[in-house]
Amino acid sequence: MFVSHLSLVDFRSYEHVDVELGEGINAFVGPNGQGKTNIVEAIGYLATLRSHRVASEIPLIRAGTERAVIRSRIVRGDRASTVEVEIVPGKSNRARINRGSLTRARDILGLLHAVTFAPEDLVLVKGDPDARRDFLDVLCVQLAPRFASVLADYERVLRQRNTLLKTASGPRRGSDEGGFDLHTLEVWDAKLAQLGAKITHLRHGIVQELAPHIARTYDEVSAGQGVATAMYRSSLDAYADDEQTIGAATTISEAMIEAQLLDTLAKLRAKELQRGVTLVGPHRDDVVLTINDLAVKSYASHGESWSFALALRLASYDLLTVGPQHESHQWVPWGNDAEPVIILDDVFAELDVKRRDRLVERVARAKQVLITAAVAEDVPEGLDGRRFDVMQAEVTRVL
């Protein structure tokens, strides 16, 4: 699939811009701070409803305005559709598909696939677990769009439960205001376990789908320098009685995880009340990455880490292209022309020549590639296509 037209209103630095994009390579070139990343960020947002740079939506709205609109034309196979999303911080975002009536923004998930490579990707490998959880969740909503609401509800339940634990352990406990109510906590336990099991189950499945792609893409990027693996690590494992971890299990049922979560929450109750936080659940999970059986986070060199980060993005791209393989992972009907748009935000300047060449080789024939670079020389040879100059939030096609 590819984006043939993009139009922004009050998004980031753009008051209004229209860009006609082509299949193949589209390079955005211009000095720092002119608005190159802003363009590709908008396309990433259409695919994931998130920015690859910021967690809050406020910076996405042009300063001094209240709402931003991203409008696009997406071509998949021989069908084109218009997809439009309106971002209003503090309110629920809304979307419109093919001039239909307004719906929730969530309804556009799955219509566009995109994978963004950015200099920040090193945190996927070297950073804290939350970066890897985010990586999985972004992939998760593209592979299984209906899980967006599960993720949002889990976030909400977690915040509610943590607040309850805090007030229960705080000075108000036992006061005549009603104090701590065990029944209420049990209600939140049940919700947390129910939603948490869905997320753990899905992420476990996605890591299983991703792992063979990672092994292959790492082999390509590093030119056979090692065997890369990825395994889901559940926070439940630390409290389980048996040796079998969730990550190592080939099949695992949602009901089993739910029961285990409920069980563990009961076991941890005293500790949680003391600490005032939820100690187990998918918000504490991680993905363990290894090269030749050594944990990448602690052992890998800088170059190996970069190769792994690239491998993770390429593996997402491959997985989104071919779709999930295991029959129990058919979250949505996959359909044809699912190949994601590739976004390369400032990555070539970060890479050494070898990795750069291998990445070029890998993306040169992709359906659509969007590249940002400060100078034309940073766009590697072999990636010819459209070129746009970006200057003070004006985009001009030059090639």
Binding site: S149, Q160, R161, T163, E177, V187
Partner: protein
């Protein structure tokens, strides 16, 4: 090149600003809408403005909450509780009075209501003891009520409240049902259209008895 953005606050003073501030405190009214409404009021006929002001003051003075169900009422009991044609054996539990209005519009329901006054929401500091749950329990003591329909909002807090009530009600011999799914998840009951809400009522599921 850039000029300092002037906020609305910098511009108006005294009575006009007070009016904008008060309007801006209303739910769903942002600073721009508050400004627009304020100038609409300033432009309007004095008699119209007087009618609005009277309506506000009268409503606040006259409207109270039903002693039985907690719905808005003009007297000690609301019109629904006082209506002899309504069935006594089914109680529909909702979060707010506006949910009663939404359900009444569907014309699917002939029983009575119980308005909780919100949902369990630790972040907002609302626990079960802040809701009219004790009053609900009291209404179920005489064994007249056969079914309690839990019609709290289809969002995280509404679900938690329904789950909590279901637990509390297991001690009482009564059928407990929940509105069928199909309502927009994560939303407010009051925003569901009549047909969807009506269907959710017809297809309600048993969650305990």
């Amino acid at each position: 090149m850039s000029t300092k953005p002037t906020t609305i606050k910098d511009v108006y003073e005294g009575a006009v600003q007070d009016l904008i501030d008060e309007l801006g405190r209303l739910p769903g009214v942002g600073p721009k809408s508050a400004q627009r409404i304020a100038f609409h009021i300033l432009d309007a006929d004095p008699a119209d403005v007087q009618r609005l002001a009277t309506a506000l003051v009268e409503a606040k003075a006259r409207v109270r909450f039903c002693d039985v169900c907690g719905n808005v009422a003009q007297a000690e009991t609301c019109q629904i509780c006082a209506d002899p044609r309504r069935i006594d054996t089914v109680i529909c539990v909702v979060e707010e009075s506006k949910d009663v209005v939404a359900i009444e519009r569907t014309r699917e329901f002939r029983g009575k209501y119980h308005v909780l006054g919100g949902a369990i929401n630790p972040i907002d500091g609302i626990g079960p003891s802040d809701l009219r749950i004790r009053e609900l329990m009291a209404r179920l003591q005489d064994g007249v009520v056969q079914e309690v329909i839990l019609a709290t909002d289809p969002n995280v807090e509404g679900e938690a409240t329904a789950a909590y009530l279901a637990r509390m009600l297991t001690a009482i011999e009564v059928k407990i049902t929940r509105l069928a799914s199909g309502l927009p998840v994560g939303g407010d009951l009051e925003f569901a259209d009549e047909v969807t809400l009506g269907r959710a009522f017809e297809g309600r599921t048993l969650i305990g008895s």
